[in-house]
Amino acid sequence: MAHAPDKAPETLGRGLNERLTDAHGRRYWRSLDELENTPQFQEFLHREFPEGAAEMLSPFTRRAFLNLMGASIALAGGLTGCRRPEHKILPYAKAPENVLPGIPKYYATTMERAGAAVGLIVECHDGRPTKIEGNPDHPGNLGAVDPITQAEILELYDPDRSTGVLHENRPATREQFDAFARERFSELRRNGGAGLHILGELKSSPSFRAVRERFQADFPRSRWHVWEPVNEDNVAAGTALALGRAAHPAVDFENADVVLALGSDFLASGPTWMADARRFARRRVPEGERPMNRLYAVEGAFTLTGAMADHRLRLAPSQIPLVALVLMNEISGGENAALAGPLLANVEGLDVAWLQAVARDVAAHPGRAAVLVGAEQPPAVHAAAAVLNGVIGSECVAYRPYPNEDYGRAGRSIAELAAALEAGEVDTLVILGGNPVYDAPADLNFAERLSRAAHVIHLSYHVNETSRHGAVQWHVPRAHALEAWGDTMAFDGTVALQQPMIAPIYDGLSDAELMALLGGQPLTRGYDILRAFHRGDEAEGPAFEARWEQMLHDGLVPGTAGTIAALGAPAAGSASVGAELAEAASAAAPTGDAMELIFQADHHLFDGRYANNGWLQEAPDPVTRISWDNAALISPATAEALRAPLGTYINIEVDGQSVKIPAWTLPGMADNVVVVRLGYGRADAGRVAEGVGFNVYPLRTLAGLHVRTGVKVTRAGGHFDLANTQDHWSIEGRPIYRQTTGALYAEHPLIIKEMEAETPSHNGQTQPFREFEYDGEQWGMAIDLSTCIGCNACLVACQAENNIPIVGREQVNNGREMHWIRVDRYFSGQRLEDVEMVFQPMPCQHCENAPCEQVCPVAATTHSPDGLNEMTYNRCVGTRYCSNNCPYKVRRFNFFNYHEDYPDLLKMASNPNVTVRMRGVMEKCTYCVQRIRRDQLRRRGTDEPYREGSVRTACQTACPTEAIVFGNINDETSLVARAKRLNRNYEVMGNLNFRPRTSYLARLRNPNPELEA
């Protein structure tokens, strides 16, 4: 069946393509290992005992891993039980009036990361924060919460966090530091702060801003720098070019009919992705009031946004400016034709017809189309997007100036600091958080230059590479956001209050507290600083007290939402934008000898600051499904050219710097493009991060923060065993994942139902026993594949809620990861180059005819009267028969006593309402039964009926796109019952008569009819 498409690459690719086109219709296959006959795969076939023998060691390594964590029990010894926030605290000698043991309290707070704020609701048990959920009122996340923010809980209880002041890497006391600071800063104050430099992180906090301004007033000659490895410098520069002022493009996706993403992963990264994804998803379902939106993506990597796109063009990042130019030309009526023409003539393979169709579609939706550009693109493209959005009169993109002028100057700012260090101008350097020794641009030689500063103070949550640097005189532990007072400002101006859930475990200081202390300011306690700032001129008194209490309760400062007004249409400079764009667009396309390298913030480790977080390390990368390590992602054709199958080491070399890293083939990527994720290969991150991944920062320079061109990639030989949570294989045409287009679905409403396999149906078989009747609530779940973006928020939410252990790389490699909900990723498409990527979250399906229940010899897994498939851990003897018989393989077995060696500090992260499972028992998704029962207990003895939404599962709550709906399916009006009545509702393997309670809403796409043919 050799219908090899004309453009199939040689050998490897062609073979694959043949096997893909073989199948009838749209077909999904998993990952490439099976299709490719890679040496690794061959080894797979032939391997026998030698490999196994090596694995024998795994329990030891596992123990070593946990013992490492356990070693810090001693460190945690100072903890005595649970502590409550300062200033709000009363001893338990008298029971606090509103605290009931066992009933959690919820507090609103906020956090920011790289200047992007989110609003949070934190669940606290006996003064111990255990679970982070989103605050629906906050514009940054609209109630969603991403994996990283959820994992801040684990971060808080990280046994490796910094526990005390260090002086030249030896333990010191706070008093010694205070004495030093007094002496040093009074001296500095005398000369106005000359030689004093501060390097901070990007912070939106207004109260911190006030402290900083006062500090700068006291030390007028001091200089303040900011550095964020993951920054929006290009966005700011581009909008400044087009609009005269750096601004954040805020997109109102609910009003956008057509979205064009140029190298932008707005659905999974970027400062407001949670809110964006939520709004975007509301327009992805056919049941909405307004028609489905359409998403075009042009990208070199394969991102979650690309996976969601209706049409996707894979293109190296250097070629995207050209795309922008063509689009600008098409949409704004040939204004730049003179520029575009000659360039286009030089470019082979750019699908101009495709771009023209896109341009027509964008132009056909004036005011309701949005052009988005990723931070990786040069400023000219951002400027072009601003101009384009102006040209089409887009009402759904608002350019709001950034909360402060630090946004957009990270690269410039750290370069200035490096220059000052080089020039020997830096006498005292205060580094607030961050880890520049690890993550500063490589060409700044930051580590080396840091030695030229006489006094360096590092405020840090971890004793990291920067704290360990020889020049750092003082290391001061930093307070976690859940331990400190503060505030944040969202991109629309909304100010949120950050209140501590627990007293600082190791007496850490917040940035504001340290700066106030160093500056000798009158208020040095976080609470006082924050309160004074928000009181402003208002007098202390009952009126302010009430307002203050209300602000803390809501987590938001009233009247601040929308205070940052959007800028008007681009003032001028369209011509200059065109010229800049033309210059950017003239970049040569990558070749096999000069590839392009894209740096992406890791979905979980971000820039590396979360490297010591087990939840995040173990969460598989959404795209590659690799946990615990990073790899260099390359397209199949590039892999073939490099002869680098999965896991083979390659050398990435640019400007004399080189990094050796295993390669991983990802179909759908642009050829001759390499994607690497930041944040791995940390040297001093802690014991979890030790030996995990490969550091790619040495390749990252000031000019090439996002993309580097002219990269030489060679096969280095050798193989690294990456822990991939989902191995291989084709989906074999099984109707497990279903999708169609919105148009087809409207025309043939039963199309999804009809996709059942040709397998004989077992439904309707008579049962030898009486059907159970559910008269009260009966729980069920529906997961909308149209809106699932595969971001792992559900996975981490479940891990946090249900005390799911971390098992480590070796165990994941062994197929023993414990996640109760996993996100299955499938590829589909006729050609390997232009595949689609789809996601399917897979929790326990809670079958009515549960195969697991039938086979348990001790009745440890049974049905509840409200339809849950329950695990009784105490009864489980661990035969694993239930798991074998589970068609969805969602049961997880405790092969070892994973919780046994957890240090005390880490144990504080546990949810007390969920049993911690010992070794030898099976576990699985419970539909968050503890939340169901808590609601039932609350209603017990009253006539109050179950109210829709009063029980929400952890995954449902976290999901940014509201793809997961849970509720009472006996109530016909409930959301979940309504979802299950939709024609696009289907059950996975529904024809085998398991009667699962979790069903899926088929994925609908909204392709452009013009491009469909």
Partner: protein
């Protein structure tokens, strides 16, 4: 009868070969068999025993390690929840089938040639069941509560879950073990009495005396004995069929493609007999050599067993092809995939080892010369043992490794602990077996005497004629 005299013995049909060769009378038969247990322990025995006990020690160590650390020391993972432990369990249980089959079914069918091998085969059965019994016990996650599988009244007021085939397994295997031990022991009582009577030391006299249950060989004893033996044979016979049928239910009752099939009970029983006979051969061939029992375990016995191997091997092959046919004919795409995947997927190596060993290698026995060649049958019997182990491996592992959702598929690799546990179970088996060879009557002496010509009324008239045995 006169014909027998005129025809040279070589031209007689093979079944007419004598069941006991070497011109033994009762006394010499007693002497030959008892000597095995009475003579000075040969040096070779000590060597073999030392090796066996070493492996037994390895078993003890790896099991202790397993209990200390958890099931994770094995290669089992998420899709493949059962690995070598269950493979070994089914394999050993299968081996255990030959003994009861030979002892009971052939007894009921009056196959007199069984007498020379039944004691041996039954001993093997019991030791194999002992080995098998280890695995379900240690493979559970929490061994210390494994007793919950038994219907013991308890303060929790909870019974086992009777719909689970694992529970049926508990009953089936424990019943089988009990009956097998009883059957073996009852059959051994007269021979134990012989050893007691021949004992030269008080210790042996007392030890054998206790187990001989005061046997005096009176007619009443013989009468009770015969009845008891017949009853036990009758009880054992359905067990031969039921045990492995129930073991197969562990798989057949599940929903997994490759497991969920109605052919399993007869297919498993046949496979069990196949493997059991192969193991008897593997053990018998060296044992008859070393212990000078060639006169009692003759080439005719071995050839008969080879015929059974050939027949059961063909049935196993038929079952393999039926599985494939049904997978195609059912139209079930999961089922189809599983079988194609077995033969061509990453576990194809295991599948083809299974096919070559179980289906192809016994075909040699179509030829009489090969059927009667000791080296050939020894090698083939070992092949069959290997093949049957891989049959269980293929069934257990490949079906689990790739079932319904491709996302959960994974590859299973055993760990060193898996391998050592399996090897260790041989340590247990051979330790028991060597003790048996050293201290118990290795052949059913009383029964052999019954089929010797001397036991018949017209003994002495036709000394060279052994046709009585088949009367």
């Amino acid at each position: 009868m006169a014909v027998a005299h005129t025809n040279p013995p070589l031209q007689q049909a093979p079944p007419d070969e004598p069941l006991v060769a070497g011109g033994h009378d009762f006394a010499s038969a007693t002497e030959t068999v008892s000597r095995v247990a009475e003579s000075r322990t040969p040096k070779g025995w000590y060597v073999a025993f030392a090796i066996a006990v070493t492996f037994l020690g390895v078993l003890a160590v790896v099991i202790s390690y397993l209990l200390w650390e958890g099931v994770g020391v094995w290669g089992v993972n998420n899709p493949v929840g059962w690995g070598w432990a269950i493979v070994n369990f089914v394999w050993w249980i299968g081996i255990g089938h030959a003994g009861t089959l030979i002892a009971a079914i052939l007894f009921l069918f009056r196959q007199k040639w069984r007498t020379s091998i039944n004691r041996f085969a039954e001993a093997m059965t019991i030791f194999a069941v002992a080995c098998a019994g280890i695995f379900p016990g240690i493979h559970v996650g929490r061994v210390w509560v494994a007793y919950w599988l038994f219907p013991i009244p308890n303060q929790m007021g909870i019974w086992p879950q009777f719909r689970s085939p694992l529970l049926w397994d508990v009953f089936a295997v424990s019943t089988y073990a009990t009956i097998s031990v009883l059957f073996w022991y009852v059959g051994m009582v007269p021979d134990l009495a012989t050893l007691r009577d021949r004992a030269k030391t008080p210790l042996r006299r007392i030890a054998y005396g206790i187990f001989a249950l005061g046997w005096r060989g009176s007619h009443r004893h013989w009468h009770v004995y015969e009845v008891a033996y017949l009853v036990l044979a009758g009880v054992s016979t359905p067990l031969v069929l039921s045990v492995h049928s129930v073991v197969s239910f562990d798989f057949a009752v599940s929903v997994l493609p490759g497991w969920h099939t109605t052919i399993f009970p007869p297919y498993f029983v046949d496979g069990a007999i196949f493997s059991g006979f192969a193991m008897v051969m593997t053990l018998m061939i060296p044992a008859r050599q070393w212990f000078g029992l060639k006169d009692f375990v003759t080439l005719r016995h071995l050839e008969n067993m080879n015929k059974i191997l050939l027949a059961t091997g063909m049935i196993v092959g038929y079952a393999y092809s039926t599985e494939f046919f049904i997978a195609w004919y059912s139209g079930n795409l999961y089922e189809r995939f599983t079988f194609i995947h077995r033969a061509l997927g990453p576990y194809a190596w295991a599948y083809w080892i299974m096919i070559s060993c179980n289906v192809i290698s016994p075909q040699l026995f179509w030829f009489r010369r090969l059927r009667r060649s000791i080296p050939v049958m020894f090698v083939v019997s070992i092949f069959v043992n290997i093949g049957m182990w891989f049959e269980r491996y293929v069934i257990v592992v490949t079906s689990l490794a790739s079932d319904f959702l491709p996302s959960s598929w994974d590859y299973f690799s055993p760990t060193l602990i898996d391998v050592l546990t399996y090897l260790g179970s041989f340590g247990l088996f051979f330790t028991l077996f060597l003790l048996f060879l050293r201290f118990l009557p290795v052949l059913a002496l009383a029964e052999i005497k019954a089929i010797m010509p001397q036991a018949h009324a017209h003994h002495g008239h036709e000394p060279a004629h052994a046709g009585h045995a088949t009367e």
